[in-house]
Symmetry: C2
DNA sequence: CGCCGAGTTGACCATGTTCAAGGTGGGTGG
DNA sequence: CCACCCACCTTGAACATGGTCAACTCGGCG
């Protein structure tokens, strides 16, 4: 169901007890190098809230399996999705004392929770862990920046095409995109309406750029053609 | 001309030579606590390029005076501004080896450049500096996230109102916004056209929300009314 | 004075939103 | 096992908003 496989397998035990500094690799800046300090394994089922805007920010999380969405709710009922987090991602960084965003399980998912104070204290001693933390933050930064760029794009076609290509990269097979989220989620992420997302996808299907075998699955027929839609 | 005043005064000497660990304050997470390791003072005049997308990322910068824009150029000529950096801000963080964005002087400005390798090496020994770096990264992250949120907003009015209120906070007087940038810059930052920005501002003036004493100056007549435009 | 770049304004048009019906499919209970 | 149901998705038509193109204004500077 979930598009990606976890770094470490699901475990039902509620707590890992490990002071493992983390693996010794430093050079390859892959996601796999993510945080491996002591943490608590937690499960969240679909649509469950992980934390809410305004709460005290006492933890951050690493995604083991499933997909998480970070979002903001506007007073008029609109919802804006800031990011989707996939296995390997760390999220929940805050500068201030409390959450600026809400996080919810976009699918059933497994997370590891780390106490902020604990890890930060540890990081004070452990240069390597400290560097990890820094890397995760910068990675989040890069992701937030490309999201801005995506939202700034003018047309719906450009946005949807970018989105599909992004997710194709996360997928196991290069041409199959398994969407873990609903059309509404996609719309709120791209700053469009659900109708426009739907129309854009069917239009792409008519133009033989993609196929839609199921509502949560997209087959990319021509990656090049899709890339040409993005300026 | 520039809206904000620098932390330390402009100096014409080209290089500071100081191993100053930085000031001892830790608690107040204000911008003023920014990076204070050895760096090189550099001046850039209006519209000068600071670094370009694709270059090797060997430094980051702290803004002393003036305003910097980070942006991306699309193949079809469009420009997308990711952020404006004001005095106190640190920019130029990268995870990868090279720049993902271009930085340009939006006004004449003075920066301090830090060699990445140098500071990161220093940070390895100096826990305090390391924490500083981390804080700056998280601050950039928060800023990038609110920019996403801004771009996701539906209406032009919402975007322009948000923008004005943001800059009012940076200004010395609460009701006067001194814009350091052109309409085109604003448009590219908000994902609008220059015409729409212009029209929206004059519309707000007609509705007595703001006054436009000069093209680079806005007086806010009713902060509350402006805030009401933002959901 | 006249030029030039930046900003404003207007008319028209393209794109996406809104509102309102239909579809579709996966899961549940009879 | 089938039928129904509900949430999710698709489609269509009318409409609103912002983009485009083009003319015009303003202010600073040689």
């Amino acid at each position: 169901m979930a598009a990606q496989l976890a770094i470490s397998p699901d475990r039902s035990s509620m707590t890992t007890q490990a002071g493992i500094p983390w693996r010794g690799t430093d050079a390859p800046a892959t996601k796999a190098e993510a945080l491996c300090a002591p943490g608590t394994v937690e499960h969240f089922s679909h649509d469950r809230e992980i934390f809410a805007e305004g709460e005290a920010a006492e933890t951050f999380f690493r995604v083991v399996s499933g997909v998480v969405r970070s979002c903001k709710f506007l007073s008029d009922g609109r919802r804006q999705i800031e990011a989707f987090h996939v296995p390997g991602d760390v999220f929940g960084f805050e500068l201030a004392a409390d959450r600026m965003l809400t996080a919810e399980a976009a699918s059933d998912c497994t997370l590891v929770a780390y106490r902020r104070r604990g890890v930060e204290a540890l990081a004070r001693k452990d240069e390597a862990l400290s560097h990890q933390l820094y890397s995760c933050a910068i990675r989040s930064l890069a992701q937030a920046q490309s999201h801005s760029l995506l939202l700034g794009r003018r047309g719906a076609v450009e946005k949807v095409a970018s989105f599909l290509l992004d997710w194709a990269d996360h997928s196991s097979r290069a041409d199959i995109v398994n969407l873990a989220m609903t059309r509404q989620d996609i719309a709120d992420y791209l700053g469009l309406t659900i109708e426009t997302v739907s129309r854009t996808l069917t239009q792409m299907e008519r133009e033989r750029l993609i196929e839609l075998p199921g509502t949560r699955q997209v087959r990319i027929r021509s990656r090049e053609a899709l890339e040409d839609l993005i300026p």
